[in-house]
Amino acid sequence: MRTEDLIDGLARQAGEQASPVENRFGLAEAAGVTVAVGLFLAVLGPRADFADAINTPWYPIKLLIMGGLAALAFPVVTALARPGASVPATYLLLAAAALAAAMVADLVLVGADGASGRMFGRNATSCMTFIPIFATAPFLAAFIALRHGAPTRPGLTGAAVGLFCGAIGGFLYGIFCPDDSPLFVVVWYSLAIAIVAAAGFIVGRLALRW
C-alpha cells in the first residue's frame, strides 16, 4: 500500500474520539475494586476486634500505607498507558519511605525483643494467599481497560498494574489481618504484592502489545 493512500483513508474516517485512558481505567477499577470488596466481605470481613484495633497506631498505619501505595500507583499506570508521557514513578518512594519509617518506629518504640516474632506473625500463609486473591478482580479489570491504551513498555505497565492491584489486595486483607507490625507488613505484604507485580509483568508482555 502506498503511504499516501493510507493517509487519505485515515483522513476520511477521522472523527470520533475514544474516551481518555484514565477514564476507562478508572471505571474498570471502580468495578474491579467493588468485586474485590464484595469478595472480601463474603469470605473474611473485618477482624473481630476492629473497633479496638482502629484505635491502636499500627493497624491504621498499615491500612494507610497500603491505601497510599494504591493511590500513588494509579497515576503511574495511566501514564505508562500513554506514549511519551512522563511517569510519576518517583512518588512511589513515598510509600516505601513511610513503610521504612514505620519499621524503625516499631523497632524503637516496641523494642528489638520479640521483633522476629512480630515479623513472622500469626498467619503469613493466609496473607500470601488472600492478597493475590483479592487483587485478581482489579487485575483483570485493569488489563481489559488498558487494551485501549498504548503502553510502549508493556511489561513495565503490567508490573505497575500488579503493584496497584497488590496494594488493593493488601488494603482489603489488611482489614482482616491480625498482624499489624510494620515488620510483618514489610516482609509478607511486600512479598505478596511483588508476586502480583511479577504476574502483571508477564501478563503485560503478553496482553498489552498493540
Binding site: 500500500m1 503511504t3 493510507l6 493517509i7 485515515l10 483522513a11 476520511r12 477521522a14 472523527g15 474520539q17 475514544a18 474516551s19 481518555p20 485512558v21 498507558a81 500513554r82 506514549p83 511519551g84 508521557a85 512522563s86 511517569v87 485501549h148 491504551g149 498504548a150 510502549t152 502489545r209 498493540w210
Partner: protein, 158 residues
C-alpha cells in the same frame, strides 16, 4: 495536510532505526504506515496539554522496534538513539523547526507567532509574554488553543 507533515516526521525517525538495522526503504514505509495507523487508532492516548512531538516519537519508536523484531530478531537499536528519549521526559523533542513552522501556518496570526517563538526560537513562557506584551497566563491560553487547533486538524482531514 497535517498527516503528510506527520508522516515526514515519522519517516525521519524510522529511517534512523532502519539504517541502524540495515533495513530497506520498504521497511521504512512499513514503519511509517504502521505508526500512522497506530496514531489514528490510539489518538485518545494523546493528552492535549502535552507536546505532540514526544507522543508521536514514542509511538514511532515502539512500532520501529516491533517491525525490527519481526524482521528476524536483529535488534540493533543503538543506545544513542535512546539517549534523546531518556532525556525527553522534560521539555525537548519537538517536531523539527521547519515542520513546526509549516504546521503553524494553519493557526491564527497571534497563535502562530507565539508557537513559533516558543517552539522554534525556544523562548520560555515568561520570555514570550514579554515579547508579545501579554501575561504568562494569556500566553498559556494561546498555546493551549493552538495545540487544540492542531489536534483537531490532525484528527480531522487537513
Amino acid at each position: 495536510m497535517l498527516l503528510d507533515e506527520l508522516s515526514r516526521f515519522i519517516r525521519q525517525i524510522a529511517r534512523r532505526s532502519a539504517a541502524n538495522a540495515q533495513l530497506s526503504g520498504a521497511d521504512v514505509e512499513d514503519i511509517v504506515q504502521e505508526t500512522l495507523l497506530a496514531i489514528h487508532l490510539k489518538s485518545h492516548t494523546w493528552n492535549e496539554n502535552e507536546l505532540l512531538g514526544p507522543w508521536v516519537r514514542a509511538i514511532t519508536r515502539y512500532k520501529s522496534i516491533d517491525i525490527l523484531r519481526r524482521r528476524g530478531g536483529r535488534l540493533h537499536v543503538p543506545i544513542d538513539d535512546y539517549s534523546e528519549e531518556l532525556a525527553a521526559d522534560s521539555d525537548e523533542t519537538q517536531l523539527p523547526a521547519r515542520d513546526i513552522i509549516r504546521m503553524a501556518t494553519i493557526l491564527p496570526e497571534r497563535q502562530k507567532s507565539i508557537v513559533v517563538a516558543m517552539f522554534v526560537d525556544g523562548l520560555s513562557t515568561g520570555e514570550a509574554a514579554a515579547r508579545f506584551a501579554m501575561t504568562e497566563g494569556a500566553v498559556r491560553v494561546n498555546v493551549h488553543r493552538a495545540l487544540a487547533a492542531l489536534a483537531k486538524k490532525f484528527g480531522d482531514k487537513g
